[in-house]
């Protein structure tokens, strides 16, 4: 239905706009919800959840006796949450490291799902088979108005919850111990965040598939984190990046006749790369550029300044003496953060001025 064929008809069709809208809302929601997961070091939980949903999808398919959206989503939610419960249980009751628990849940649930899907395929009539495959790789072009509504409702719920509980979520995301100490119900808040992630993953699965859903949770959030240190801005940027990545990916896929899930991930990865280099707050090139501007502002070619700067640096970091021989302030600017560099330079400049006046007096 989104086939490019050889005209641009698809740009004006109703279906295209439904698909684009659905994907964009999904991406925005995933970016917002994923921000909390990424900030708390739980990026791969979405991955485990998405894999754990497969047996549920099969269960729903089997119970409903065909590809019915409602039962399949419910089943996915059921086993996805079961997977999360198992994770929490393993964390509480065993000494396994978290990543091993994730690996176990992800692979065993997925294995059971594969077994069930094959069993269903053995019994189902030929036409019914296609429904399951699309849950792995996603079938973006198949988004209908009803799917769009479900996605929008979930997005609305998460936006409302995040808006209402912003302060609480912020505290839990950055300092869970402190949040507990000031009396916040961290377990409930944790549950709320996890449920939002689960809902988002489950409604997104049919559209973009297992692997791509994990990517949608991680990539916009990790990119947005480079843009700001303030949570509200990170959330906004993550949601916008998610929407932009999804919409542009879906458009690319329609134009080039490629599956949409992978193109969404690739455009997200492109945005991430841009952020990594150019993000205003922590981009690699931006921080370099800021440091360079600072060195330009100071008169760095003055050899006396260089010497004094080096001396001051080693006073502060004596352990660096071992591996640095020909150090000048051009390299210093790489070793120090911009703030530290500026502070050091300011102090050195004052020292030099003081020395000059002393010389002038004598």
């Amino acid at each position: 239905m989104m086939n490019a064929s050889n005209s641009l008809d698809w740009l004006t069709s109703y279906n295209t706009w439904v698909v684009l809208g659905g994907v964009a809302v999904l991406g925005a929601n995933a970016g917002m919800v994923g921000t909390f997961a990424v900030l708390r070091g739980r990026s791969l939980m979405g991955d485990a959840l998405a894999h754990a949903a497969l047996p549920g999808v099969c269960l729903g398919f089997w119970v409903a006796g065909g590809r019915a959206v409602g039962p399949m989503l419910l089943g996915a939610l059921l086993t996805g949450c079961l997977g999360l419960l198992v994770l929490a249980f393993l964390k509480r009751w065993t000494r396994l490291p978290d990543d091993a628990g994730l690996g176990v849940v992800l692979s065993v649930f997925f294995g059971v799902g594969v077994v069930m899907s094959r069993l269903i395929q053995n019994n189902a009539a030929g036409g019914a088979k296609a429904g399951l495959e699309s849950y792995i790789l996603g079938k973006t072009a198949g988004i209908l108005m009803s799917d769009l509504l479900v996605i929008a409702v979930v997005a609305l719920i998460s936006a409302l919850l995040v808006g209402l509980m912003f302060k609480e979520f912020l505290m839990v995301a950055f300092d869970e111990g402190f949040a507990r100490a000031v009396g916040l119900p961290t377990t409930t808040l944790d549950l709320a965040m996890t449920s939002l992630t689960a809902l988002t993953v489950i409604v997104g699965l049919p559209a973009v598939g297992v692997v791509m859903m994990a990517a949608l949770l991680i990539i916009p959030a990790a990119s947005a984190r480079l843009w700001s240190d303030r949570l509200e801005i990170v959330l906004l940027v993550a949601a916008s990046l998610g929407a932009v990545a999804s919409a542009s990916g879906a458009l690319t896929s329609a134009a080039l006749n490629l599956p949409a899930g992978p193109t969404v991930v690739l455009s997200g990865a492109g945005l991430f790369l841009l952020s990594l280099l150019l993000a205003p707050r922590r981009g690699l090139l931006t921080t370099r550029w800021r440091a360079w501007c600072q060195t330009q502002a100071l008169n760095i070619t003055d050899p006396r300044f260089n010497r004094a700067m080096t001396r001051a640096f080693f006073e502060r970091h004596p352990q660096m003496l071992n591996d640095l021989e020909d150090l000048n302030s051009l390299r210093l600017e790489r070793l120090l953060s911009p703030e530290e560099f500026a502070a050091l330079a300011e102090r050195v400049r004052l020292d030099l001025v003081r020395e000059e006046t002393r010389e002038a007096r004598s």
């Binding site: 990424v38 990026s43 692979s107 594969v114 692997v211 959030a221």
Partner: protein, 494 residues
């Protein structure tokens, strides 16, 4: 390689649909492939788990897809050699790139791994579709594997005694991977163990931690690639992690962990084969399911770590504490010359009233407490000694706290009420020596400490670890896995 829809019944001879109708040689070769894959994965998985790199297998197995496709496009056909190399290189690139990304300090380890492998996978899928006319790689086959069909495609090898021997082509790569794994583990055992548990110390001692890490990565990537043609990209993770995680729950020694993991892997392979053939379903998925079953058994029933054992230990501890509380209460009543009565049984915070009543019943059955007329209670000789030991521990601890901590007098009882249950005769003697025996005969509240020379035999077998002295328990000849919670994060990023 479009094997996605094959079923077991198709393999059965004639029109039989039962798996036992399958040609025994087919069964043998399928099992051989499955066992080889599972063994090499189980061995490497143990190191992945203790190095906290469990999800690297998942990442690598997803990320090899573009490597496969590019190698295929370069070679122009399905050529095992170039595709194996291409896939392994793609896997190594994933490990390297996610590490480089995390080392910029801009992205956390888990997020960087997630970004890199999903992007690589997406790239692979796009490449497959972009060159769909030239590539007959089936994403379904990549995802689920096709171990059922490995025995169909055979290569004839010259047999030493003359004649030929036809061996499944898919057996070679896992066999090579198993050999590489065995060589790595046997040649570099000490280095691997050292760098897994204490990379800082290993580096200080002059080991090239980085090189060992790279070697481990190469073998892991090669094994993942070799396995995934048979079991599919996601289920490789099950073969890698689940047996190792299962073994980790059963033992604390790395050698034993590897052996157990191999057994779990092998049994899962056989069980997966039998069940999959019986139900006519995907074997790799079934193997993962069986391994998951073993894991669940270990979680519940492991003798040292299992949920049952932990709950049982907790119940025993609660019962012992209740027993001791009742004995101490009776001893104190006795000391004051009062007769204790059942109706006066205290309602204590450490053990609820019903727990104390149960304890009383238990003590009467054991003959430590005797019922008098009415509801009066008396200690027997044995009970008196036990109660005395308890009160002694309590008062010694109060004296110790009073001596060494600046606590008000009314803050001494509650901590002592908890600590008394963990002070065995040895610790009591130590405290006594510390306080200066002979100089102390009353606790800070003025109550006499019942100092009898013959301390009771130790019946504190279920003392929690943190109160136990660890001397004489470690066996330094072997590798002891430290408790995960206070282990320094070894190689956090792959």
């Amino acid at each position: 390689m479009t094997f996605g829809n094959a079923t077991w019944s198709a393999l059965a001879q004639g029109d039989g649909t039962n798996w036992w109708d399958i040609d025994p040689i087919t069964v043998a070769w399928t099992l051989a492939v499955a066992l080889t894959v599972n063994l090499s994965c189980a061995i490497l998985g143990c190191f992945l788990v203790v190095r906290r790199m469990s999800l690297l297998g998942d990442a690598i197995s997803h990320a090899v897809l573009p490597g496969l496709v590019i190698a295929f496009l370069l070679a122009g056909r399905i050529a095992s050699g170039p595709m194996f190399v291409g896939a392994t290189l793609a896997g190594l690139f994933t490990a390297w790139a996610s590490r480089a990304l995390a080392s910029t300090g801009r992205v956390r380890d888990d997020a960087s791994l997630g970004i890199v492998f999903t992007t690589m996978f997406a790239l692979g899928v796009v490449l497959i579709h972009a060159y769909a006319d030239n590539v007959d790689l089936d994403p379904g086959c990549v995802l689920y594997g096709s171990i059922e069909l490995t025995s169909l495609e055979r290569i004839s090898l010259p047999w030493p005694g003359g004649g030929t021997w036809s061996v499944p082509r898919a057996l070679f790569a896992p066999l090579l991977a198993l050999c590489a794994t065995l060589i790595l583990v046997s040649r570099a055992w000490n280095e691997l163990v050292w760098t897994s548990f204490d990379p800082g110390h290993a580096a200080a001692a002059g080991l090239n931690v980085e090189r060992i890490h790279q070697a481990f990565l190469v073998v892991t990537a090669a094994t993942t690639v070799a396995s995934f043609e048979a079991v599919g990209s996601i289920l490789v993770v099950a073969m890698l992690i689940v047996p190792a995680a299962c073994a980790r729950l059963l033992t604390s020694r790395l050698e034993m962990m590897i052996i157990l993991a191999c057994f779990v892997g092998a049994f899962s392979a056989v069980g997966g084969f039998v069940l999959a053939a019986a139900l006519d379903t995907n074997m790799a998925g079934m193997t993962a399911g069986v391994a998951g079953g073993f894991f669940a058994l270990a979680v519940v029933g492991s003798p040292s770590q299992g949920v049952v054992a932990r709950v049982w230990r907790r119940v025993r501890l609660t019962a012992r504490i209740a027993d001791e509380d009742v004995l101490a209460w009776l001893y104190r009543a006795d000391e004051r010359g009062r007769i204790a009565r059942v109706s006066e049984l205290p309602d204590r915070a450490t053990a609820g009233g019903s727990a104390l009543r149960n304890a009383l019943g238990r003590l009467i059955r054991q003959g430590q407490v005797r019922r008098g007329e009415g509801d009066a209670l008396h200690l027997t000789q044995g009970g008196r000694e036990a109660g005395e030991a308890q009160v002694r521990a309590h008062r010694l601890w109060e004296s110790y706290l009073d001596r060494h901590f600046d606590l008000p007098l009314d803050h001494l009882h509650d901590p002592a009420e908890e600590a008394e249950h963990y002070l065995g005769p040895d610790l009591q003697r130590q405290i006594l020596a510390e306080l200066g025996s002979g100089s102390i005969d009353a606790d800070p509240h003025g109550a006499t400490i019942p100092l009898e020379p013959g301390l009771q035999p130790d019946r504190r077998s279920t003392v929690p670890q943190k109160f136990q002295s660890s001397a004489g328990e470690s066996e330094p000849s072997s590798v002891e896995l430290p408790d995960e919670s206070n282990l320094p994060k070894a190689t956090s990023s792959p």
